[in-house]
């Protein structure tokens, strides 16, 4: 292996490179934490989907986000069950309510009505089987463990929703939403609490389980013919969740804020890193000029600088990822939605490495000063 000039210089003069590494790292943390928080918050709108075990979701045609579902005709269930690949279908209701607890004051809540059978699909990830059984009793609800304080209640506590008395019989996990509060109840209880759902037999969504989950796209395609699409639309669970996140990212303006803040982070990162690398090149100008005198071609010197930039990027990125994992741990401990997925990490990693390399390219301009003839003046 050749003498690792770039890496050895980086290690030997680490104090010189520290600002660049830190700025790259901070840019990374800023982008990842912002992105994960945004996706986490926006993702709460898709919680009914992501916390359920359905393969397919069936709802009102053109629904843009899971939380904006409108009623569809109950007859859809029979139509769906005609397909032999569909194992079973169960309804899910979305309603709204005004929560009044013992502390007084109202809190807007989203009512989610689920099938209470033990192997039910709806919100299966958010509660133990025993939790569903508790809901078979009328006028009982589950609230999220993280929302107990906000609602001023506890397990066994009583409250009123839309003027009707309910009892909190347990908690869900991971159903904390940013906008309002999710309150889970049986289908019958939700129909009783939200009168707009009471009258008709309509449902907000049908959740379908397939005999083989791999067939989801094919079944979806079958029900996407124009005649059925007038009455209902079928999505895979990922489709609907992704659609919900995209809708709120674009609709809420939060996405634009994220993009703006990311650009600022990248700009600052690029500036500091390029300044640092330029100073490092300047400090080594006589040495580089000596290599030029010996006959080392200019592109090989460029490689040294770009390699240094890549190292700065890699170390900064590692710092950034470590910082982001720490932030994720803190968020988890505090019940804050923080969607630290591979996508946002790859995006941030790519951007941050580009920052470092761009900074390296900017620093190359200083390399032009490494003129060997200048050593002889």
């Amino acid at each position: 292996m050749a003498v690792a000039l770039a890496r050895k210089t980086l290690v030997h003069e680490w104090r010189r490179f520290l600002p660049a590494v830190m700025s790259v790292g901070f840019s990374g943390v800023l982008i990842i934490v912002q992105g994960a928080l945004l996706l986490g918050i926006v993702g709460t709108n898709a919680l009914p989907v992501t916390q359920s075990r359905a393969d397919l979701w069936v709802g009102f045609p053109g629904t843009q986000s899971a939380d904006l579902g409108r009623s569809i005709d109950a007859g859809a269930a029979a139509e769906l069950l005609v397909d032999p690949r569909i194992l079973r279908v169960e309804p899910l209701l979305l309603g709204s309510g005004d929560w009044r607890g013992p502390r007084g004051g109202g809190v807007s809540v989203t009512l989610i009505g689920i099938d209470t059978r033990p192997d039910g699909l709806g919100l299966a990830e958010a509660m133990p089987r025993s939790g569903r059984a508790l809901l078979t009793e009328p006028a009982t609800v589950l609230v999220d463990a993280a929302d107990l304080d906000k609602l001023g209640t506890a397990i066994g506590g009583a409250a009123e929703i839309n003027g009707q008395r309910v009892r909190v019989v347990g908690t869900t996990d991971g159903m904390r939403a940013m906008g309002g509060v999710n309150v889970v109840a049986s289908l019958a209880t939700v129909r009783a609490l939200d009168r707009s759902l009471a009258a008709a037999g309509d449902v907000t969504y049908y959740l379908a389980a397939l005999r083989s989950p791999g067939a989801a796209r094919a079944v979806k395609a079958r029900f996407s013919q124009s005649e059925t699409r007038k009455r209902f639309e079928v999505w895979t669970a990922e489709d609907l969740a992704g659609r919900s996140v995209r809708y709120w990212l674009l609709e809420s303006g939060a996405g634009v804020g994220f993009i703006f803040a990311t650009i600022v982070a990248l700009l600052v990162g690029t500036l500091i890193t390029s300044q640092t690398l330029t100073a490092a090149v300047a400090a080594s100008t006589p040495q580089y000029a000596t290599l030029r005198a010996i006959g080392v071609p200019f592109p090989k010197l460029r490689r040294i600088v770009v390699e240094q930039a890549a190292w700065v990027g890699a170390v900064g990125l590692a710092l950034g990822l470590a910082g982001s994992l720490l932030a994720a741990a803190l968020a988890y401990l505090n019940g804050i939605p923080f969607a630290l997925g591979p996508g946002i990490m790859a995006l941030s990693g790519g951007l941050v490495l580009s920052v470092a390399l761009l900074a390296g390219v900017l620093a190359l301009r200083r390399l032009r000063h490494a003129d060997p003839a200048a050593l002889l003046r």
């Binding site: 050895k8 210089t9 006959g295 050593l375 002889l376």
Partner: protein, 241 residues
């Protein structure tokens, strides 16, 4: 016909424009330098000796004239070809040592061989051998900060000669050194010329170096004015017109 192993220049002219004032650095300089000799270019500051070294080594081009090194017309080569020529044939020693702070002595020397495409192990052995030759064998694992000025210049010389160049250019190699180290470096340069038949060209106004050179070329106002050989300088061959 044998290959031309000398370094020759004819009618070199070079001027610089600094703040719109043109300065003539060299006017019609012609000379021939031969293998196995330590030739010294000397003269007052601003006489054009560094410019001459720059042209002779192919670091810059003359406005007029020709430089022929080892039979190659340097002025006819493009930048990449001159880089390639220097990579194979030229070694340089500068007044300021110019060593990389992060590398130990062995790596400073080996780095050059890396760029010449020599395999790592071979390069490492060659670098160690040359450091031994300049008397730094036991100190090859020290970084510049741990070496004295004289030792640094010896590392720089080792770096310059490790690829066995046939042309070695040194710019004020002893000016930053005390008398003992200055003498060591001077003897090294002389030995390199005599033992390996290298053309060693030094620019210096250090009297210690002048006394030990095989040939002293004196310059003034961009022209050669005296060219003498032998330790006693008795055999002056040319003087300024």
């Amino acid at each position: 016909m044998t290959a031309d192993v000398s370094l020759r220049a004819w009618g070199l002219e070079k001027s610089y424009v600094v703040q719109s004032i043109r300065t003539q650095a060299l006017s019609g300089v012609s000379l021939a330098l031969h293998p196995g000799e330590l030739s010294l270019i000397s003269g007052p500051s601003g006489c054009g000796k560094s410019t001459l070294l720059s042209l002779l080594s192919g670091l810059s081009r003359p406005d007029r004239g020709e430089v022929r090194a080892l039979g190659t017309d340097l002025c006819a080569l493009d930048d990449a070809a001159r880089d390639a020529f220097r990579l194979v044939h030229c070694g340089f020693v500068f007044q300021g040592f110019n060593l990389f702070p992060a590398l130990d002595a062995l790596e400073q020397v080996q780095l050059v061989l890396d760029y010449c495409g020599i395999p790592h192990d071979v390069g490492r052995r060659a670098a160690a051998r040359v450091l031994d030759m300049v008397g730094l064998g036991p100190r090859q694992h020290l970084r510049p900060a741990e070496l004295s000025g004289g030792e640094k210049q010896r590392v720089a010389i080792a770096r310059a000669i490790v690829k066995r160049p046939r042309l070695l250019f040194a710019d004020e190699p002893t000016s930053a050194l005390d008398s003992v180290n200055g003498a060591i470096v001077t003897d090294l340069l002389r030995e390199i010329a005599h033992r390996s038949g290298t053309i060693v060209v030094c620019v210096s106004h250090d009297p210690r170096l002048i006394a030990r050179a095989d040939r002293v070329i004196e310059m003034e106002d961009g022209r050669l004015c005296r060219d003498s050989r032998g330790a006693s300088r008795s055999g002056a061959t040319e003087t300024c017109p």
